[in-house]
Symmetry: C2
Subunit: 200 residues, 2 copies
Amino acid sequence: MNKIITIGREFGSGGRELGRRLAEELGYEYYDKEIISEIAKHTSLSEEYIQQIVEQKPHQLYPITIGHTMNFASTYQIKQIQEIYSAQCDILKELAEKSNCVIVGRCADYILKDYKPFRIFVYADIENKILRCKSRNQANESYTDKQLKKKILQIDKNRAKYYNFYTSLKWGDKVNYDLCINTSNASIKNIVNIISKIFK
Amino acid sequence: MNKIITIGREFGSGGRELGRRLAEELGYEYYDKEIISEIAKHTSLSEEYIQQIVEQKPHQLYPITIGHTMNFASTYQIKQIQEIYSAQCDILKELAEKSNCVIVGRCADYILKDYKPFRIFVYADIENKILRCKSRNQANESYTDKQLKKKILQIDKNRAKYYNFYTSLKWGDKVNYDLCINTSNASIKNIVNIISKIFK
């Protein structure tokens, strides 16, 4: 069975960088935004639309039913959401079958549980996440710290809702992971140097 | 400044073994039950009594006051609890000043926060904790799994109450630690081989 590493991460914690560096260090495939492109190929939907769907809280996309009445557009939208999630499950399983890999986000830890992935969750305190957001994206420099904090918390809230909705587990709860890494006081490079040894 | 590693741990997760092996591997001092003996030396109280106090929920030891009425025995007992905690703080700081060390439990991550300790929390799922309890202590073999589960959960509940009471933080909440390690699917020896490299 291939070695699968899944990375859950708070926004601004450096989880994506950690995943990318870990894959490089180990010579594993790395999947992140590529999964959205693959979903687009598997469905008739555009990458932009899929991105929009997966970044929203799924329960907001589901219609309010009054009795058994439900309008056609909503039913169609539900079908699309289900189609996207179903394609995501198929693609993740295909990737897991193909080779050793690191997968960021997308409920991969849950969807691939039969493949016994090593499940990492990456987090940091809010001050460090604000600093990281500023340093990695010039566009974020125009935000005040207060605005950035609000943005970070909102993105994480959406990630939590998405994860909780599809898995019935609590996003970021340590019981669902093998290793939880706080990047507040550490360099991602150093962390990768050490944890890559788990897989060698 | 000396290197200080603190270990919080769920009962039966192997956290104590992890701490001991980590100290051995790094050549650091290791403190666990020794702290209770030191408290006894610093106070007029017996090790047994101190053990009993620190294993109880502290709020249970505090008296119920009706208006300003409080009985003498309770006031005396509060004084002892405060004396024990105060001695614990002094001893932990002395140990941190003395040499590099690994300290298990005793709110050391919080009490020594000015020493910037590396804070580890060790946990596991309940099935693995039951197995570990059985394998390390023959006395536990007479317990049914249900009884052992109850015992484990009760001890952890007390540890949480103790920690939350003195620190106002949530015991086991990943935000209070640098690294949270799930020992359910891993050998303690292998974990120590890898994480010891953080400190080399």
